[in-house]
Every structure is written in structure tokens, then in C-alpha cells.
């Protein structure tokens, strides 16, 4: 890995008897920029199985990586049903496309854009205004899409200009407020009683208000309509492939390197006479244009644009995708999108959700606890604790075991003998939720065997809270709670994201 390219410099020219340390790896060589040449060495070495996979992945040439990453997606429509293709395939791809644009803004350039999904909504609404039964216009997609992309980039430019002389933090708040303003606007701009009266045209029904803008046309290229899920899927997949290829080249280009420099240290970049503001705006506009484009696809797929779709919930989802995939990693977002979109889709049935919950818990335990006997002790301890608590409760507190797991399946039936299910769990489960948070926080403070000891009741508490409270709202609040916690945990454990490369700090 640390080979600096080319053979030893002093070969042949000198007598072999004289020891010549010129090409020794710890000596600087003339004419080579040491810092640049050794950039690989400053990556934190990954150990174990993940390191092995990561190194194997890096050895694959770039086109091969693209095929490996997107190949399964290309096969997917031929092996699955229409409904599954929509839920798992198409939405994942649209999220991946969306996340790719955000990755440029946050991952490449290091700008915290919290209004990003507003541009997604902007794309959907603008396309809807130009081509839908609601507005009465029916523009062809080959005209509408460039208009959407350019105007999204322009709005991005305007918004970015306001933070021209601001710190990154101010950009975050301006964009977050922009998202809020966007949602308020589309919720009310239906030409109703309270709406603006625009100069020259008076009141106009732009967005359909809270009911949304309906009857959006399918994408229509030169008279060729995309009408099936499979058609949209393939269109999105092609767009992703093109964008990914483009990002690969951009990443290695002068602009891409400048973005990374900007992310690492804006001040140093500016001192190196980089046009910092212009680079920031460029990244910002690029992101906005990508979001507008994916919004157009989303609007056409849904054949409607609804204000609730473009809110903070989606923002968190996209951020989780980018951060899981690794800030600045081009391919990572696809895997991130697969995980973040796929998992909640599986969560929709509570039996699946249960398997997923305990499976992830188990996996996390096995990965995080070393050596091997610690997770085993924890598991056995938790099982024993559960049966003990259940036995005591059934003797002295009959209400505590009175509840049942509805539609449970085998796992659920087994769980009924282990976890407490009070018949009217409302406030007990609420307090248990607090206790679980406290226990999880305590876990981060203790080390060694104390951690094992605390982990046992924490896990049992987690199962209790899951069965009595969290499972009720798996696709609503629970999903966002888990995503929020995930963001905090990843930032604390691995700020570069799972597939990102963490660098060693040089002081």
C-alpha cells in the first residue's frame, strides 16, 4: 500500500558495496511530495474482517466496482413482483439518487445543508405545475426536466448567496428555516382565502395546499411515456449510473480535490488561494439540481406531490443514508439507501419487525463485545434474568403477564414466556422507556465487566420496551427515534460513517 510508485531511484548507478538508504521508506525523496505520496498511510488501518473486505474492495478497478454495486439492482426487476419492485427497488433508488446529491454538499464540500429536501419537493412541485391535470399544462419531460434542474440550481444559488459571508453553522439554520418556509408555502399556496394575491395575476392555485398537487403526468420523453414501475426503475437506475460515473471523475478532478480541501479546513483552503465561496456555491447548486431532478422522478412516480412528503422526516432519512454510507463515499450511499429504506419496509409487519429488532441486537452484541465469551455470557444472563423475572411476576403480579403478543408467530409465542407483558402497559412502558435511555447512557460510561453486568438488564429492558411500546408505531415515531439515535451513535463512534475512511489526525 505504501509503495510510492516506480522502482528504487538509485538502482544501478552506485556500487553495490555502499549501503544506500536513499529509497528507504522512512527517508524523504527528492522531487516527490511526501505528504501527497503517502496519503494512503494516513488512513486509519481497518482491522479484522471489515478491513479484509475493504482492502479487497479497493483492489477492484472502478468500472468493476460500479458493476458489482449496481449489477444486483439491474437483475432485481426480473426476479420480483411489481409491488416489491416499487417498495424495495424504486424508492431505494430514488433515495440513493437524492442522497448522492446531498453527499456532494455534505460529504465532499462539508456544508451542512438542512433544507436539502426542500429542493426535492421543489422539483416535484415545479414538474407538477408544468405537467399535470391539476394545473392544466402538459409539458414534455425533455423540456420540463432541464427547466426543473436549472431553476432548482438557481434557487440553490440564491439561498447559498445569503450565506455567502456566513459560517457553516449559519448556513445550517438558514437552510433549515428555508425547508420550514417551503413546507408552509406549499401547504397554503392554493389560492384560498388566506393566500397571497400575486401582482398582475391575482390569486393562483399553485400547489393545491394541504391536499397536494394531484394528477401529475408520467414522464414523457418525445412522446414516449414511462408508465410502469419497471420503466421508472430502469430510468432511475440509468440516471444513478451516469451520476455515479460523473461523481467519480469529479471527485478526482481539480474541483473535487478542492472540495475535499474545503471540507477538511476551509481556512487553510482559503489561504491556499482557493475560491472558497465559489466552490461552496457550486457544491450547493449541484446538490440542489440533483435533488430537483430526483424530485421530478418522485413526483411522476407518485403522480402527485404532497406537502407531508418533504418534511423533516425525509431529511433525517436522507442524512442517515449519507452518514451510514460514509460521508464522501460515492458508492456507500447506495448501500446506505438499501439499509435505511429496506429496513423500515421490512418493519411494516410487526412479526418481521420483531425478527429484525432481535437480529440486529444480537448482531451488534456479537460485533461490539470481544472476546467471544462475553456476548455468550450476556445472552445467557439475559435469558436467565427474563425467565426469573417472568416467574416471579406470574407469582406475585398477575397483571404483569396477562398481555399477549398479537399475530405473533413462533418467536412471539416463545417471547410470551420470557418478557413481561402487562395488560395495560401505558405508563409502565413509558417509565421503562426512560429507564432504558438511562441504562443505555450508563453503558457508555462503564467499562470491562461492569459493562457486561449492566448490559444484561439493559437488554431485557429493551425487549420489554420494544414489545410493550415501540412495536406499536414501527413505521412512525419508532422509526425516527431509531434513526435519530443512529445519527448520534455513529457520530460518536465513527464520525466518518460506516463505509467512509477515517483519517488519522495530523497535528
Amino acid at each position: 500500500m505504501s509503495s510510492l510508485g516506480g522502482g528504487p531511484a538509485g538502482e544501478g548507478g552506485l556500487p553495490t558495496a555502499a549501503p544506500e538508504p536513499v529509497d528507504a521508506p522512512d527517508r524523504p525523496r527528492v522531487g516527490v511530495d511526501e505528504w501527497v505520496a503517502r496519503v494512503d498511510e494516513r488512513r486509519a488501518a481497518q482491522r479484522g474482517l471489515t478491513g479484509l473486505v475493504a482492502r479487497a474492495w479497493e483492489r477492484v478497478p472502478a468500472p468493476g466496482r460500479l458493476v458489482l454495486l449496481l449489477g444486483p439492482f439491474a437483475i432485481f426487476p426480473f426476479v420480483t413482483s411489481e409491488g416489491n419492485l416499487f417498495r424495495y427497488g424504486l424508492i431505494t433508488l430514488i433515495y440513493a439518487l437524492l442522497a448522492m446529491g446531498l453527499n456532494v454538499v455534505v460529504g465532499f464540500a462539508g456544508l451542512l445543508d438542512l433544507g436539502y429536501v426542500a429542493f426535492f419537493g421543489f422539483g416535484a412541485y415545479l414538474y407538477g405545475i408544468m405537467a399535470s391535470g391539476h394545473s392544466g399544462h402538459h409539458l414534455q419531460a425533455e423540456i420540463a426536466i432541464p427547466i426543473v434542474v436549472v431553476s432548482a440550481a438557481l434557487v440553490g444559488l440564491l439561498l447559498g448567496l445569503t450565506s455567502w459571508r456566513l459560517l457553516g453553522d449559519y448556513l445550517a439554520i438558514v437552510t433549515l428555516f428555508f425547508l420550514q418556509a417551503f413546507v408552509i408555502f406549499v401547504n397554503n399556496a392554493n389560492g384560498g382565502l388566506n393566500d397571497f394575491s400575486y401582482p398582475f395575476v391575482g390569486k393562483v392555485d399553485l400547489t393545491g395546499g394541504a391536499n397536494g398537487l394531484d394528477q401529475i403526468d408520467p414522464l414523457n420523453f418525445f412522446g414516449f411515456h414511462i408508465t410502469t414501475t419497471k420503466g421508472y426503475y430502469i430510468f432511475t437506475l440509468i440516471s444513478i449510473t451516469l451520476l455515479m460515473t460523473m461523481l467519480y471523475f469529479v471527485n478526482g478532478s481539480r474541483t473535487g480535490r478542492a472540495w475535499r480541501a474545503l471540507r477538511e479546513d476551509p481556512l487553510a483552503a482559503e489561504v491556499m488561494s482557493m475560491p472558497v465561496n465559489r466552490l461552496k456555491l457550486l457544491a450547493f447548486m449541484f446538490g440542489a439540481a440533483t435533488a430537483g431532478f430526483s424530485g421530478t422522478i418522485y413526483g411522476a412516480v407518485q403522480s402527485g406531490a404532497f406537502p407531508g412528503d418533504y418534511d423533516v422526516g425525509l431529511l433525517i432519512t436522507i442524512y442517515a443514508i449519507v452518514i451510514l454510507g460514509g460521508l464522501g463515499s460515492i458508492g456507500g450511499v447506495v448501500i446506505g439507501a438499501l439499509v435505511v429504506n429496506g429496513a423500515p419496509e421490512l418493519l411494516r409487519s410487526s412479526a418481521n419487525a420483531r425478527f429484525l429488532f432481535y437480529g440486529v441486537l444480537l448482531l451488534a452484541l456479537l460485533v461490539a463485545l470481544r472476546p467471544w465469551y462475553k456476548p455468550v455470557i450476556v445472552l445467557l444472563g439475559t435469558l436467565a434474568l427474563g425467565f426469573a423475572v417472568h416467574a416471579i411476576a406470574s407469582a406475585v403480579w398477575s397483571r404483569g403477564t396477562a398481555g399477549h403478543i398479537a399475530g405473533a408467530g413462533k418467536l412471539g409465542n416463545a417471547l410470551e414466556h420470557w418478557v413481561l407483558l402487562p395488560s395495560n402497559a401505558g405508563s409502565i412502558a413509558g417509565w421503562a422507556y426512560f429507564a432504558l435511555i438511562v441504562a443505555a447512557l450508563v453503558l457508555t460510561l462503564v467499562r470491562g465487566w461492569w459493562r457486561v453486568l449492566v448490559l444484561i438488564p439493559t437488554l431485557y429492558l429493551a425487549a420489554f420496551v420494544w414489545e410493550n411500546k415501540l412495536v406499536e408505531q414501527v413505521s412512525g415515531a419508532t422509526r425516527l427515534i431509531l434513526l435519530g439515535a443512529l445519527l448520534v451513535v455513529i457520530m460518536n463512534v465513527r464520525p466518518a460513517g460506516i463505509f467512509g475512511t477515517s483519517r488519522v489526525e495530523i497535528v
Binding site: L112, F177, A181, V312
Partner: protein, 309 residues
Amino acid sequence: VNWSLFFGELVSGLTLGSIYALIALGYTMVYGILKLLNFAHGDVYMVGAFVGFFVLQWLGGPLEPAVTGWLAVAIMFAVAMLVCGALGVGIERFAYRPLRDAPRIAPLISALGVSIFLQNSALLLWGPQFRDYDTFDLVGVKSYHIGSNFFISNVQILTISVSIGLTIVLALVVSRTRTGKAMRATSFDRDAAEMMGISIDRVISFTFFLGSALAAAGGVMFGIVFGQIFSLMGFTAGLKGFTAAVVGGIGSIPGAVLGGFLIGLTESFATGYLPGGSVYANLYVFALLITMFLIRPSGLLGSPVIQKV
């Protein structure tokens, strides 16, 4: 001129503004010391409102309180401020402290995660429905009037004066006490302060405690004045609190209060006077923020060096 409308909007703007001011103080203090945008602050405010609500229920509800009205209100304030102060300290300890030396974007994303976590935990535990404070009977609302157009109720007077009172207390803590001096030193140069023997961790925890307690006071006040609270109230309020802090000049205590009143008045007058104001008031606040950024990015009273907490 419709003076009745004008004075009505003025009073409600000042009331709203005093709540925003309390939120803004927390933002401005935390930003002054850590240079961190604490996105979770708005949600701490929401938790404060709920704690106040549950304390009131625990005291027997607004109609048959176990203690006299004003004492019940005082207990609500005290408990909510203590609980949220502890919550703020906890958030800092677990979500921000490990990231103090990380790249700047990491704590921001962590803060976003905490915010979503709190908001949805509230949604999970307390549901999306509105809760009624019903404190009007508790404190015996009276309306005073000067002339025939200027009306103000005792609850509104209470809100404005509590807010100003708390701000004065805070300003005294920061400028007169030993801890306040440590806060100012930490804000000025964290490393140098540490070398002078100041316990940075303790100072930052204390800052979070103060800021979160003030936000909780704002939450309880919102419940008392407007009567209804809900799980998602923190998000917009947090945004406006931050806007207030920025407009007033981030890092400046009087600036936060001034910004808070300005935002409150803008919102209130936009509702009454501007086209589409009843639904688009927040858009006008946003426009104010953008304008402020364009003409004076350091805020009304902010100067980057002096006046930092």
C-alpha cells in the same frame, strides 16, 4: 387607524417575544461557549412545557389544585426548569462532549439526531394530540385596560416580567459571579481558560443547565399564555429562538432579548397586517432573518469579540 388591533398585536407580540427571548438566551450562551448550534434546544423547550403540564396534573389539575394558584404556577416553573436543566446537561455529556474535538459537522449532525430523538420520543410517549393547560381558572385571569383600546391581561404581564427578570438574573450571574467569569473566560479562549485552572467541563455543563432551564421556563410560559401544548411545538419555536439569537447578535445576552422581542413583534404584526399573514407569518420571520444576514451578519448588538458570554 385601528388602534385596538394595533395594541392587540403589540401586546401579543411582546408576550410571544418574551418566550422567544428565553429560548434565544440558551442558544446564544451555548453558541458563545462551544460554537455549537444546539438543534435540540427547541425540543428541550417542548419537554419543559410537558413537564409543567404533568406537574399541574400531579398537583390535582387546574380546577382543584392542592395548593393555591400562584404557588402551583411557581412549582410548575421550578420543577420544569430543574428537570430540563438536567436534561440539557445530559444531552451535552452524552451527545456533544465526546465530539468536542471532532470536525465541526459531527456535533451538528449529532445535535440533529438528538432533536429528532426527543421529538419522536415525545410523540411516542405523549401522542400527537394537544394538551390543555387550562391555567386560566388557576390564576384568575384579569384584563386591565388603559383608555379604550389598550388591553393587557395579568398573565401577559407575568410572562413579560418573568422573562425580563430571568434575563436580568442571568446577566448578573454572567457578569458578577465567579462562575460567570469562568464562563466568559471559556468563551474567550477555551484552551487558555483550561490552563488557568478553570474546569471547562463543569463550566459547559453549567451553561447547558442555565440555557435549558430558561427554555423550560419559556415552555411553561407558552402553556400558561396560549393554553395548549403539543409534541411538535419545539421545532418551529427552536428555529425562531435561534433566529432571535442571530438577529440580536449571537453571543450577546441583551441581543438575544432584543432579537426575541423583534421576532415576536414581527410575527404578530405580520399576522395582523401583511398579505397572507395569518398563514405565512413564519415566512415573514424568515425574510427578516435573511435580510439581517444580508445587511448585518453579526446581528444588532453583536460584535465578534466583546459581549460574548
